[in-house]
């Protein structure tokens, strides 16, 4: 039963690795975008001069630039977004960003020489989806990763990462709504969620 859990974790490796791919064709803007993000991630990882806090800050910046954090955050909160007060929404979005950075910064450190290939991209009504594959050094089967990207003006932003049909946004939404419901639903539930996020940020060294 544990198989799918580890496929899901490939999401972390994916971002990181986007890294080592050679430049995609100039026409493939979304592909190049994914790769550019990866290049920056690797620079941060390789920069030995950075302390723990600085590294975290650098990742934070990268995530804010690469991911559409407000939109993902809204999606993940699902129907409870409209239940939350504007103050709660602001606090939640801030915590959500910090939480994602803390969790993924941890997963990055587990990177161990996987190879990454960008297979191509498709345009979608609101952006593009970039297909890629991770090939593992231990010879396990390759992992398919799809990046859902939206285009905002001239810029691209990641909306979701899907590893072997496991979506980061869908999984987090399931998890977050469960926390809200168990916290009593409604505004009280959103408070409970914000508190849980704070605990998790602390537990993950954020």
């Amino acid at each position: 039963m544990w198989k799918y859990l580890s496929r899901y974790l490939a999401l972390g490796a994916a971002l990181l690795i986007a890294v080592s791919a050679t430049p995609a064709r100039a026409a493939d803007e979304p592909g190049a975008f994914i790769q550019g993000l990866g290049d920056q991630a690797i620079q941060i990882l390789q920069n030995k001069q950075l302390g723990q806090k600085e590294r975290q800050a650098a990742f934070n910046k990268l995530f804010t630039e690469g991911f559409d954090v407000p939109e993902i955050g809204k999606f993940v909160l699902g129907r409870y977004w409209n239940v939350a007060s504007p103050t709660q929404q602001q606090e939640y979005l801030k915590l959500f960003g910090t939480y994602v950075v803390a969790v993924y910064a941890n997963r990055f450190s587990q990177y161990s020489g996987e190879k990454f290939t960008v297979a191509g991209s498709q345009t979608t009504p609101d952006g593009a989806s970039v297909a890629s594959q991770i090939i593992r050094p231990n010879g396990g089967p390759p992992i398919n990763i799809v990046w859902k990207i939206s285009k905002q003006g001239a810029a691209y932003k990641i909306r979701d990462v899907v590893a072997e049909n496991l979506s980061m946004a869908v999984t987090q939404r399931a998890e977050f709504s469960s926390v809200v419901e168990r916290g009593g639903g409604g505004a009280a539930g959103v408070d409970a969620l914000n508190n849980t996020l704070k605990q998790k940020i602390a537990a993950n060294g954020g």
Partner: protein, 283 residues
């Protein structure tokens, strides 16, 4: 005697599923839970079983898996995983056929022959090297292809995430598995429990870090496992329904409210494949 007692895990699963199937026949889950795809009307019971499973995992499976990994070198563990997976071959073939998938049957048949005869009885996965990818199939998937609904989410003792359809299918399958029939016919029924036990530990040992990581990062580990289970299961079933067209991830709508899923229009494809070594390594 012994084998009857040892059969208890699948049998328990079977009975439990049957009970729940019976109970949900009288109380079908309403359409209201469509808002979340959790399909978990028995959540409170499920959470209790999940906690018990996690305790058993913490005090038994995880330490045993750690030991297994500490004692055996990687090459031996890979061999064991390969043998176990190869032994699933006949059962997968049967299900490929029942699902009406001659192509997938051919893959599994080819893999099974190659691995058994050229791979030292399954120790070496020759099939994957020959670019015949492994796929899973089980009777629950077959029933799904035939149009049987899953029923609600169920956490089964030891076996974790399941549902009535797959739980019953698993119980039936444990008896009907050609390998298991063969073992019983030769009075080696106990072999099936060795196989089950080693399988659980081998799989657990492959995922020690992953599970630690998910537990640490999840806000609600139960909900994470449930969501990943449904996504993964549905994707596998989709793949069994249309094997030539591997399951595409469902596109996701980002409106906070309920919204239909949009179909991406493929207007541009760039088949530029690039490979490079990942040299990054965290210090």
């Amino acid at each position: 005697m012994v084998s009857r007692r040892l059969l208890s895990a699948p049998t328990t699963a079977l009975m439990l599923s049957a009970m729940l199937l019976a109970s949900c026949a009288s109380a079908p889950p309403g359409p209201s839970d469509a808002a979340d795809d959790t399909n978990d009307p028995y959540e409170s019971v499920n959470r209790v079983i999940f906690d018990v499973n996690m305790s058993i995992d913490k005090y038994f499976f995880e330490p045993v898996a750690e030991g297994y990994r500490w004692v055996l070198p990687t090459v031996v563990r890979t061999g064991i995983s390969n043998v176990l997976r190869n032994l699933k071959g006949p059962l997968i073939m049967a299900n490929d056929l029942l699902e009406g998938n001659p192509q997938r049957f051919g893959d599994t048949f080819g893999r099974f022959m190659m691995n058994t005869f050229f791979g030292l009885g399954g120790l070496i996965d020759v099939g994957t090297d020959a670019k015949i990818p492994y796929h899973d199939a089980d009777f629950g998937m077959t029933l799904a292809v035939w149009g049987v609904g899953s029923g609600p989410y169920l956490v089964l003792p030891l076996l974790n995430s399941s549902n009535p359809r797959d739980g019953i299918a698993y119980g039936l399958e444990s008896y009907a598995d050609p390998v298991s029939i063969e073992l019983r016919a030769h009075d080696m029924g106990e072999g099936n429990y060795v196989r089950l036990g080693v399988g659980l530990i081998s799989e657990r040992a492959n995922h020690i870090e992953d599970i630690d990581e998910l537990k640490r990062s999840s806000l609600d580990f139960y909900a994470t496992v449930r969501s990943l289970y449904w996504q993964s299961r549905n994707a596998d079933i989709e793949a069994a329904k249309s094997p030539s067209n591997p399951a595409q991830p469902k596109s996701v709508s980002y409106d906070p409210g309920p919204a239909p899923t949009a179909t991406p229009t493929a207007s541009q494809t760039t088949p530029a494949t690039t490979t490079a070594d990942g040299k990054a390594k965290a210090d």
